[in-house]
């Protein structure tokens, strides 16, 4: 069947996006201020409260400053905010007011350090547990208890022990990323076909060779699945960790915009978090494609 232009999913995506933006726009239009039926006194009170301001021609209009925090901003407001933020992406205005590019950079590097460290530890321990069934069964109860703990639940304790919010944020990512990889690596190594290890044993491969030539590549598809789950949960953990710790990053951006009561800024921050997630995820998928094999 020939795919014509109108059948391309891209156009359908654009269509739905258009509908969404339109609904959003219409739903967030606030009516212009109508002074009819209001006494001079009532108008004075409204102006005094800052709800309305007098325009140059003597009429009244809603106070644009107060508008900002009243209701959900429309797509145009968010787009304006995004434009301002993106044009100032590389500007540092103050200690806590860094451009969006810096914030993304902080989050990505914080995430990467925690995730890579957790993956390294999880894969090593996972291989050990996968090869030693006795050890696995001995430690499995602890893993089962530690696994469901929300990484954020560790934060007060980590903050108390590490005493540095920078490292605490990284440790939260670490805690979020370690368990899924650990569990699936142990499973992947343990369920590696016995014949592969038997071949390695007959060929008298050294431990290092056994690890690099047989165990790691054999368990790689399962390990990658574990990494993918870890990746997701670490990405989920990094945003609230930044919010709670006040560490500069995209999570911090979302929270500081909330503190400023800048809802357009909050929506922009949400979109940035999503974009960062997509970028990290596509990089990860490229990596995963390299190590997967079919039996």
């Amino acid at each position: 069947m020939k795919i014509t232009r109108t059948q391309h999913p891209f156009f359908i995506s654009i269509f739905f996006l258009g509908i969404f933006l339109l609904v959003w726009h219409v739903a967030t239009i606030s009516p212009t201020f109508d002074p009819t039926g209001k006494t001079e006194e009532e108008l004075l009170v409204l102006e005094f409260n800052g709800d309305i301001v007098q325009t140059d021609d003597g009429g009244y209009t809603w106070n644009p400053e107060k508008e900002k925090v009243k209701g959900v901003p429309g797509p145009m407001t968010v787009a304006e905010k995004a434009w301002i933020e993106l044009t100032e992406a590389f500007v540092i205005k103050g200690t806590n007011d860094h451009g969006i590019a810096f914030l993304v950079g902080y989050t990505v590097s914080r995430f990467s350090v925690g995730f890579l460290a957790a993956s390294g530890v999880a894969i090593l321990v996972g291989i050990l547990l996968g090869l030693n069934q006795m050890l696995f069964r001995a430690l499995n109860p602890f893993i089962q208890i530690l696994k469901p703990i929300s990484p954020l639940a560790w934060m007060p304790l980590l903050l108390y022990t590490v005493k540095d919010p920078k490292w605490t944020a990284i440790m939260v990512v670490f805690m979020a990323a370690i368990w899924p990889t650990l569990a699936t690596t142990a499973f992947g190594v343990n369920s590696l076909r016995r014949e592969y290890l038997q071949v390695a044993a007959i060929l008298q491969l050294s431990w290092v060779k056994r690890l690099y030539k047989v165990i790691l590549p054999g368990a790689a598809p399962t390990i990658v699945n574990g990494l993918r789950i870890s990746f997701g949960s670490a990405l989920v953990a990094v945003v609230p960790a930044e919010m709670l710790l006040g560490e500069l990053g995209v999570g911090y951006l979302s929270w500081i915009e909330w503190n400023n009561l800048d809802i357009a800024g909050v929506i922009f921050a949400i979109l940035v978090v999503g974009t960062v997630g997509v970028l990290l995820d596509s990089g990860f998928n490229k990596l995963a494609g390299l190590v997967t094999y079919h039996e």
């Binding site: 014949e195 044993a201 008298q204």
Partner: protein, 284 residues
């Protein structure tokens, strides 16, 4: 002293309830000469693969031991290479890499040119030249086992252990590969210990066929000498007047033991009192 000696070997597994043991096979004693091709036939579950794994050093016997070339087998080693029923090729490696992994381990001092030449020689021997860069997924079952054979022969082991090597290959291809194995064996005269279900395969390839009774407590009941002269081929061997005598004898044995199991049920201890296997010889 024979080249490979399987000496009063017994294997017990813990039974399902956890207390006590089940005897898989008991008191298996076989002496195999250098260059001999010996096959074990028996029903599923009689422990033939366990026996092969013990010789390979991948499993340990409960009693008895295996002596190869005056040395007791204590673990797996390059002198005893296994050809696995399910090929056991590393799916993440190409055909060349699979064979090269073995060659590099067997000849650690060789240069990469020597290794490449050796690998290519054995890939050519099994007729897979041109498929070196393919992954096992891209190969048919027959081609996969050819790689398995190339890998096994390439390290020139003292003993080749074939664990139902052609069980997962379709019947037509199986015949072709059996013929290739005959030729490879004629060229190398390796000592081979094979486990199989296939009576025709056993007669075509073996010098001696050991018939194993059903488990538990299986034992080798009879040893049949395959007196048909070599070189053999699938086409001519069926015309030999001894072929059907041997074949019928083996099949009678297998059918007899299958029905006996149905009558008495598993765990019948009376018929398995250890005794020396009966030697059967259909000479001209």
């Amino acid at each position: 002293m024979s080249f490979l000696s399987i000496d009063h070997l017994s294997k017990y597994f813990p039974n399902h309830s956890g207390n006590g043991t089940v005897c898989i096979f008991q008191d298996v004693t076989v002496k195999i000469d250098k260059g001999e091709f010996v096959t074990v036939i028996g029903h599923s579950g009689c422990g033939k693969s366990t026996l092969l794994n013990i010789i390979a050093g991948l499993d340990t016997p409960t009693e008895g031991g295996v002596i190869l070339n005056r040395q007791e087998v204590t673990g797996p080693g390059l002198d005893r290479m296994v050809v696995f029923q399910n090929f056991a090729l590393m799916p993440w490696m190409t055909v060349f890499e699979n064979v090269a992994l073995a060659v590099r381990s067997a000849y650690p001092t060789w240069s990469s040119q020597e290794i490449n030449a050796h690998v290519n020689k054995y890939i050519a021997l099994v007729g897979l030249t041109g498929a070196e860069t393919k992954k096992p997924t891209a190969l048919s079952g027959g081609m996969k086992q050819r790689v398995g054979l190339a890998r096994a022969f390439s390290i020139e082991p003292k003993v080749l252990l074939l664990d139902e090597p052609f069980a997962q290959i379709d019947a037509l291809t199986r015949g072709v590969i059996q013929e290739e194995l005959v030729q490879m064996w004629n060229a190398t005269r390796n000592t081979v210990f094979m486990v199989t279900h296939d009576v025709d395969e056993a007669i075509l390839l073996s010098d001696r066929i050991m018939l194993m009774t059903n488990g538990p407590s299986a034992r080798i009941a009879e040893i049949v000498d395959v007196t048909i002269p070599r070189p053999r081929s699938r086409e001519t061997i069926i015309d030999d007047h001894r072929y059907y005598k041997i074949r019928n004898h083996v099949i009678h044995f297998l059918v007899r033991h299958a029905s006996r199991e149905r009558e008495h049920g598993a765990g019948n201890q009376t018929e398995s009192s250890p005794s020396d296997p009966v030697s059967i010889n259909f000479s001209a």
